[in-house]
Symmetry: C2
Subunit: 335 residues, 2 copies
């Protein structure tokens, strides 16, 4: 692969001049010379070595993104937002999955340090005490987290407590009293917040909370199916189920079907996230919408702002919205 040296030789200029035209340096370069260099570059199909550039400039135009799992449409959508924005800004994104494993998180952070990523975006809030993230504080790298975290970093957030409350209130308004909750993984901060919202809403409506009304899943349809089955086989079967994400809601609806129960006929169902398929599922899913794509673009934008602007907003909040669809269509009359 050709180097700037090669270009300089062939264009009969110094390597410095080549550098200047490549970087559109403010330092003026004669028009004729510039054209000649440009032509040579094109002829040789020369591309500057980003490693060498980064070594000097201390900027790699790379951001690292750490998420639990790209197969989850929720994260895929966030990543899409990040990437679109990154593309616009000339950044490349390195993606890493953690499956919420602490050791992998740490390993990925090290990698991003070694590669001198300009910034790191961390999504999928987790509870692991202070350690892994706090290590980042010392770094010169820009950090943005999506969601709530133990450590105080610039953040893009959604009101998960409020979102869950919205969902439960909707169910209560429909007449439901026996409402169950399928929660997400315990290390997840969203799980904690959504459970909180669930409890708040019950309390506000004078409905007693019981532990057995809550099952835990790992955000997959499988786990939603499993949790749904257990819930629906309880003697005092719930009339409504709220799931911590749409994928688990789909699983639970499936479980209902297998038990001969229809949604929304025998059971109301509410999800969380509003992934693309929620409006195509049968029945279409009532859910609490999170603007995932915008979460991604906002986080990336923050990373960019941190470079230039010191007075950028450290926190950005997004409001969840309740989308009422067919899975909660029926009012409850009995009871």
């Amino acid at each position: 692969m050709s180097t700037m040296q090669d270009v300089a030789l062939r264009a009969k200029v110094s390597i410095t001049t080549v550098s200047r035209v490549i970087n559109n340096s403010p330092h003026r370069v004669n028009r004729v010379t510039r054209e000649r260099v440009l032509k040579t570059i094109k002829e040789m199909d020369f591309r500057p070595n980003a490693l060498a550039q980064g070594l000097i400039t201390k900027r790699t135009m790379t951001v690292g993104v750490i998420i639990p799992d790209i197969s989850n449409p929720y994260y895929a959508e966030i990543v899409r937002g990040i990437q679109d924005r990154a593309d616009d800004e000339g950044y490349a994104v390195i993606l890493q999955n953690t499956d919420r494993k602490l050791e992998r998180i740490i390993q990925h952070i090290h990698l991003f340090r070694e590669k001198r990523a300009d910034g790191i975006i961390f999504s999928g809030g987790i509870i692991h005490g202070y350690e892994p993230l706090s290590a980042l504080r010392e770094l010169s790298q820009r950090i943005v987290v999506i969601g709530r975290h133990e450590v105080d970093f610039p953040a893009v957030r959604v009101d998960n407590i409020g979102g869950a409350t919205l969902a439960i209130q909707h169910l209560v308004d429909l007449g439901h009293q026996r409402i169950c909750f399928i929660n997400g993984p315990e290390m997840s901060t969203s799980s904690i917040d959504r459970l909180q919202g669930f409890k708040n809403a019950l309390a506000q409506n004078g409905i007693p909370f019981e532990d057995r009304m809550v099952k835990r899943g790992n955000l997959t349809p499988e786990s939603g199916y499993q949790a749904g089955r257990e819930l629906l086989e309880m003697p005092d079967r719930p009339t409504a189920v709220f799931a911590s994400n749409d994928l688990m809601a789909f699983g639970a609806i499936h479980a209902a079907g297998d038990l001969g129960l229809s949604v929304p006929g025998d059971l109301a169902m509410v999800g969380f996230d509003n992934i693309q398929l929620s409006s195509y599922f049968n029945p279409t899913l009532t859910t609490v919408e999170i603007p995932m794509y915008n979460l991604g673009t906002a986080a990336m934008k923050m990373i960019v702002n941190m470079a230039s602007d010191n007075s950028f907003d450290r926190y950005q909040w997004f409001k969840p919205r309740l989308l009422i669809r067919h899975s909660t269509q029926n009012k409850v009359s009995r009871e």
Copy 2:
């Protein structure tokens, strides 16, 4: 951020020695010295600068991945496979979406050249003549494509023609004669192959092919819905629809519902890919399974093999499988 220089100074050894212990160089280092260096590195939380390393070694331990769209669960699953394998092998992956736009593909290839990615994995076969990919031939980078392409690169492939044939034959065996096809984007090589399989199967069964039986979508549920509606509103309504991916199949099923038609009661539906939700959708979707995750790991493995082994298999084939579920449950009696 501390450098090897700093470590050397503090450990009272030469920078060379530090390098040797970091790289586990075959060149022997005294045990005591090594321990001391290691201790110092830990104390200072030193991480070698990958840019500097790459500049010299000409290896970045980075692969670029180019796909149409990470929000599509099909690609998300492939990417997951690539990443898991990359993690195991110590590679980082840079991900780029193209939305099947030629200019973006070219732009991303340039980026990977500048960043000196060791390899590039290209998924989502496209038809753009020779140009963008052929430019890659000259590169020192290792290239692997997933799917069929115009240019001959090491590849991981699936028999799309055979897969489509499987689907149609299943429908014919069920008694269907008026079978429609919702195809994918025209630049996509899979679309071409699946259409071919569709035609082949019809021919084999003596069913005439008509252009109007084929609609084109862009692989989203929305486009499947649209295409489904058009197909189902034809005077001689089809009794079965085959979609080029599961997402469009979901959309088409939704369209059927809106028209008061039930699947599989009034209409049989077959998809392609077997994304995770296909077995949770209502009805569960009969589909042609593609081992997406394995496609990803295989491609990444190939990239790795290309580094060490010159006799690696340039082509790897995966067989699609038909998964029969509820969306094709009913036999056709009328007609």
